[in-house]
């Protein structure tokens, strides 16, 4: 078990219940996919885990109860929109460097080595360190965002709709890259998406969320073959088959 979420609740001002008693376990090496429609609370859940949203109730427990700094090192997040997750005013070097502040003190040379390594991992050329985010395409930016997340060698990577805004070919490349990275780096993914095909490919377990609640939480094949909740059935049908059964 690397992350345990217990009874998270969050109600936004205005009465929207984004999280309504969410409990989930993420085991090491067992990728968890979270699906659900827009506005069902997926992003709020990811942000609550990262401490960006203060939950009204509930706890997030990380394996070994580390301090905030170590938690930030171990759990990294990749955001949905590659155009806004990289600060346009900073060069690639500065962006990657910022992640290093969580690491024990490093010399410039060591930092540079680390940067080159993660750029290799996300299959970006090494000579882009002095370039700026606006010089890259959406797919390349998302690779950079992943590179930034990898800088601290995390054990859990939260990918919040990380490939949703990319076109299908780029999506495929990044998904393949993520699979490859997992084998090399022994990370666990918490993969949030509304794209069932991508989730099926990357996840071992799947949770289905609607209206701030987890309505289904089981092994991947179980969910796809024998969905227990009508909402799951509707999702699967919508994703893989547009014909509505008579």
């Amino acid at each position: 078990m690397i992350l345990r979420i217990e009874g998270l609740c969050k109600t936004y001002p205005g009465g929207v219940k984004a999280l309504d008693g969410v409990s989930l376990d993420i085991r090491a090496g067992e990728n968890l996919g979270l699906v659900g429609e827009s506005g069902c609370g997926k992003t709020t859940l990811a942000r609550a885990i990262m401490g960006l949203v203060a939950p009204d109730k509930g706890t997030v427990i990380f394996h070994g109860h580390p301090g905030r700094r170590e938690f930030c090192r171990q759990v990294r997040m990749v955001f949905q929109d590659p155009f806004s997750s990289l600060d346009p005013r900073y060069s690639v070097r500065a962006i990657l460097n910022e992640a290093l502040r969580l690491e024990p003190r490093m010399t410039t040379g060591e930092g540079l080595t680390r940067m080159r390594r993660v750029l290799d991992l996300v299959r970006m050329p090494r000579d882009i360190l002095s370039r700026y985010p606006h010089e890259f395409s959406g797919g390349e930016r998302q690779r950079l965002a992943i590179a930034r997340a990898l800088m601290t060698e995390p054990s859990l990577l939260i990918l919040d709709e990380a490939v949703s805004s990319l076109d299908v070919l780029v999506q495929k490349d990044i998904v393949l890259m993520l699979e490859d990275l997992q084998q090399r780096l022994r990370m666990t993914y918490f993969f949030i998406s509304h794209n069932l095909r991508v989730v099926r490919r990357l996840s071992r377990k799947i949770a289905v969320m609607t209206g701030g609640r987890i309505v289904e939480y089981a092994d991947r094949d179980e969910v796809f073959n024998r969905p227990s909740h009508p909402y799951t059935r509707a999702l699967i049908q919508a994703a893989f088959n547009y014909e509505v059964a008579p």
């Binding site: 155009f83 346009p88 700026y132």
Partner: protein, 359 residues
């Protein structure tokens, strides 16, 4: 290439603004070298040349041959209405370049006594005429520029420092912090600027030396300007703090102030730079207004504002219109700052639209 460089390229394409920037650069350079360029020192006066009109530069000797620039002496007499009137005499004083004159401290580093141009006594060279005490207006415009041009920049820097910080903190933290800071801003904005200026000036004792008065006026001016900027910056921060890169920075363990300074305020720089440039004229005019009514820089020290106080009498203006020259320089400076500020804002705008950045 960074966004700043892209914006600069667009700015450079605007000819008028580019020229205006050049003019400003020239004015500030003149300020820096005022001691060298001005033929006379700040306190230099000649009571025999009260309201002497601008001196004519001659280039040809009486026989028509080229002789290099020279000026003629002047003789004052009263006309039948007891008004001063000046006639050129036959005395010739050649203009000397880099000749010795009154000594001064060059850039505060070393003593020098060379002036760009000057004429031997008792000849006087008044490029822009003389004032009531026979002081050279050209020299005093240069000396006064030191006060008038720097007070605007300094004041604007201080007040925008405060404005950025207050706005950034209010917008980023929100809630009660925001509430308190914004009400404070409104209290400052509520009072009409010029009267606040007068009230604050009244609170400062009169028995200060010129440097203290200068500092006092700078601080007073900057106390007025920060509130407006703080409000706008706060509004921008409200949207900027929701950006993913701010959230990402938070997950990387950056402190709140670090995030404000590194990831939020730099994104307001487009607006602030334009706002700063457009605000400088207000400070220059504020100093001029204070000095004009005698509350700012005091005689014998020069500022464009206090030089104009002589021009408040219509009779003097009628017979010595050249005492209005400082107004010309104020006008040019204010116009240039406005042109540059406008163009800079325009240079940023397409970028902002293209990226959907809040501004």
């Amino acid at each position: 290439m960074s966004e700043m460089q892209l914006a600069w390229q667009r700015f450079a394409r605007d000819r008028v603004a580019f020229i205006a920037l050049g003019v400003l650069g020239l004015l500030y350079a003149l300020t820096l070298f005022a001691d060298v360029i001005a033929p006379y020192a700040l306190r230099d006066e000649s009571r025999l040349h009260t309201y002497c009109p601008p001196t004519a530069l001659h280039f040809f000797a009486a026989d028509g041959s080229f002789s290099g620039p020279y000026v003629r002496g002047v003789a004052m007499h009263y006309d039948k209405y007891r008004r001063r009137s000046y006639d050129e005499t036959r005395d010739i004083y050649p203009v000397k370049f880099f000749a010795r004159g009154e000594s001064y401290q060059f850039l505060g580093l070393m003593r020098m006594d060379r002036h760009l141009f000057t004429v031997d006594e008792p000849g006087r060279i008044y490029l822009l005429g003389a004032d009531s005490r026979g002081r050279d207006i050209f020299s005093r415009v240069l000396h006064g520029a030191r006060v008038s041009l720097t007070i605007g920049l300094l004041g604007v820097l201080i007040s925008f420092g405060i404005g950025l910080l207050v706005g950034g903190i209010a917008g980023y933290f929100g809630g009660p912090v925001d509430n308190v800071l914004m009400r404070l801003c409104e209290m400052v904005m509520m009072v009409p600027g010029f009267y606040l200026l007068l009230a604050l000036r009244a609170a400062v004792p009169d028995s200060l030396n010129s440097l203290q008065i200068y500092a006092a006026i700078t601080i007073i001016l900057s106390f007025i300007g920060w509130a407006g900027l703080a409000r706008v910056i706060r509004g921008m921060c409200l949207s900027l703090k929701e950006r993913d890169y701010v959230l990402a920075a938070r997950t990387m363990g950056l402190g709140d102030m670090e995030i404000i300074v590194r990831h939020i305020l730099p994104h307001t720089i487009s607006y602030s730079l334009a706002a700063v440039t457009l605000a400088v004229p207000g400070y220059i005019l504020g100093e001029s207004a204070l000095s004009l009514i005698g509350l700012g820089i005091q005689d014998p020290y020069a500022s464009w504002g206090n030089m104009l106080s002589e021009a408040m009498s219509i009779v003097r203006l009628q017979f010595a219109p050249w005492i209005l020259w400082p107004a010309f320089f104020i006008g040019i400076t204010v116009m240039c700052f406005n042109l540059v500020g406008d163009a800079w804002r325009d240079a940023w705008d397409p970028l902002l639209k293209g990226r959907g950045e809040g501004a």
